[in-house]
């Protein structure tokens, strides 16, 4: 139905898949931050090769990474063009009003281009190799310190996990309701804006009603199984830190060292 690959998880058992999701999330964000320190060919080459290595380690076909980058391609080109024409420096080949084509502009544009591609590839890597469940679990775990300021972290974590678990259910239901209304003569995606908005009502109301039913039943089912918000619970799912996670931290530390060594003085 849709070929968008952002936010889709592809199960696998590569080293990257098996990483502690907390470590993975933190390291990916750290990496994105680190990329902004690259400022010459050597430092870009370093982060670029590192990204390529990480991508290869996932053992996921490159086409899926490409599909992650694809939707952002216009944004990338736009940013690159702005860089090309608004940066002045080095040799100026051509100038007109505020626009200019200069050697610094071209170099900068290349850097920006690489930076964006690397960042998107790395974020795609995170979502391709980490299930939503692990991401939510990791976020909850990372939020734990907030308990000290009385944020109900456990309840938020359970809510998040139930919400994720019902996404496929509600998506199926939406498709079914849309088809049922189509069978009653509704045309989705045609007619004026007003008509299209009107066509949404017969989807939204049944979807809302059904979500309410899910919620009521779920409430009973959870209570029947002893769930109460006023009592502590133990946790079945624990995220485990392995040696490979320590190793990956070391790898990132090494990367940081290299990037800062090869940076322009």
């Amino acid at each position: 139905m849709n070929k968008l690959m952002i936010g889709r998880y592809l199960p696998g058992d590569s080293l990257v898949h098996k990483m502690d999701p907390r470590g993975k999330i933190v390291l990916v964000f750290y990496f994105i931050w680190l990329v902004f320190f690259a400022d010459n060919v050597w430092s870009y080459l370093t982060v670029g090769l590192f990204t390529l290595l990480a991508v290869l380690l996932t053992r996921i076909k490159l086409i899926y990474f490409w599909r992650g980058i694809q939707p952002a391609i216009f944004l990338i080109l736009f940013t690159v063009l702005i860089q090309v024409f608004f940066t002045r420096g080095g040799q100026v080949y051509w100038a007109w009003g505020p626009f200019a084509l200069s050697s610094a502009g071209v170099v900068n544009a290349w850097f920006i281009f690489f930076r964006l591609v690397i960042i998107i590839a790395m974020s795609t890597l995170l979502t391709l190799t980490t299930s939503p469940l692990d991401i939510s679990g990791a976020l909850s775990s990372l939020m734990t310190p907030l308990k000290w300021v009385h944020v109900p972290v456990d309840i938020i974590a359970l809510m998040l996990s139930i919400a994720l678990r019902f996404v496929p259910t509600l998506m199926d239901e939406t498709v079914r309701i849309m088809n049922a209304q189509r069978a009653r003569g509704v045309d989705f995606g045609s007619g004026s804006l007003a008509q299209q908005i009107k066509a949404i009502v017969p989807i939204l109301i049944p979807l809302f009603v059904s979500a309410m039913h899910h919620a009521e039943d779920l409430d009973d089912a959870m209570t029947a199984r002893g769930y109460r918000t006023d009592a502590p619970r133990t946790a079945f799912r624990v995220i485990q830190w392995h040696q490979r996670d320590t190793l990956s931290v070391v790898a990132f530390a090494a990367l940081t060292a290299v990037v800062f060594l090869v940076r322009m003085p």
Binding site: T169, R233, T234, F236
Partner: protein, 281 residues
């Protein structure tokens, strides 16, 4: 069958929902013997789900008293009762709380504050008992309705209850899913010495029960063994229920001038009677 001490009792229980003219349960009194299989039948809207929910403290009663596993159903005991009485609801989708099969089975254990090492063992054991071990890491979107219901049963088993109540737990399943869930429950009942209270429209299931309770518009109208209940043929139809196949056949054969013994016959008994009639002619 020897009559055991009751494990569930209801005494004059009434439930009235807000904004409803008729009470959903109207002075129901009943007892359910321990280790029995009791089928609860009645047309849609007759109050079956309300009865189950009342026992589990999910709706508050407006009158009467109830006991479950020797405990009076009240605010103080309710969390203990919920560990003695597990409920499998109708819609497989709406009782799957966990993100994966194993997480879902663990849900009740987490609530009961079972320490993690013990929890891991109990989840594994419960999944083994319902034959879902291979699916431990699956997400609910990739399970059939029957598999989800078996996971729900595992979640209850993990808490080692005395009673399992099934509220039309197989009505949204296909015949294979239904058969697999019923098979699972039968085996478990024997292994764990459980009491089963099953709301069902499936007459074959009811015919195999020890007891049948019929409710109609919030009233208990009949209670007895399957032969006692199914011998009432026409009265059941008037209540919006149907009669077992053998009763229908009997009615038609009698209309055709054949005399069969009075009382309800199950399929084997009926076949044997027909053979007897045929061979003695």
């Amino acid at each position: 069958m020897t009559e055991e001490a009751p494990i569930i009792t209801m005494e004059n229980v009434t439930v009235r929902y807000a904004e409803q003219e008729q009470p959903a349960l109207d002075g129901i009194s009943l007892t359910i013997p321990a280790h029995s299989w009791t089928a609860l039948i009645g047309h849609n809207g007759s109050g079956k789900s309300t009865l189950i929910k009342a026992l589990d403290g999910l709706v508050t009663i407006d009158g009467g008293t109830m006991t479950v596993a020797g405990l009076t159903v009240n605010e103080e005991n309710i969390w203990q009762i919920r560990r003695r009485l597990g409920v499998v609801f109708q819609n497989p989708e709406n009782q799957f709380v966990g993100a994966t099969v194993a997480d879902d089975v663990a849900f009740g254990l987490e609530n009961a504050q079972v320490p993690r090492p013990a929890m891991v063992d109990r989840v594994a054991a419960a999944l083994e008992q319902v034959g879902m071990t291979a699916y431990a890491e699956r997400e609910p979107a990739h399970l059939s309705g029957g598999q989800k219901q078996r996971v729900a049963i595992a979640g209850i088993l993990a808490l080692a209850p005395d009673i399992i109540a099934l509220d039309e737990a197989t009505s949204m399943l296909d015949p294979e899913g239904r058969a697999s869930v019923l098979r699972t429950i039968r085996t478990l009942k024997a292994q764990e010495n459980l009491t089963i209270l099953s709301v069902t429209h499936d007459l074959e299931e009811a015919a195999a029960a020890d007891h049948v309770i019929v409710i109609d518009n919030g009233h208990l109208v009949a209670s007895g063994t399957p032969p006692e209940i199914f011998a009432q043929g026409a009265a059941l139809i008037d209540m919006g229920l149907s009669v077992p196949f053998t009763e229908q056949l009997k009615t038609d054969l009698e209309a055709g001038g054949i005399t069969l013994p009075a009382g309800y016959l199950n399929e084997e008994e009926m076949a044997a009677q027909l053979w007897k009639l045929y061979s003695t002619m």
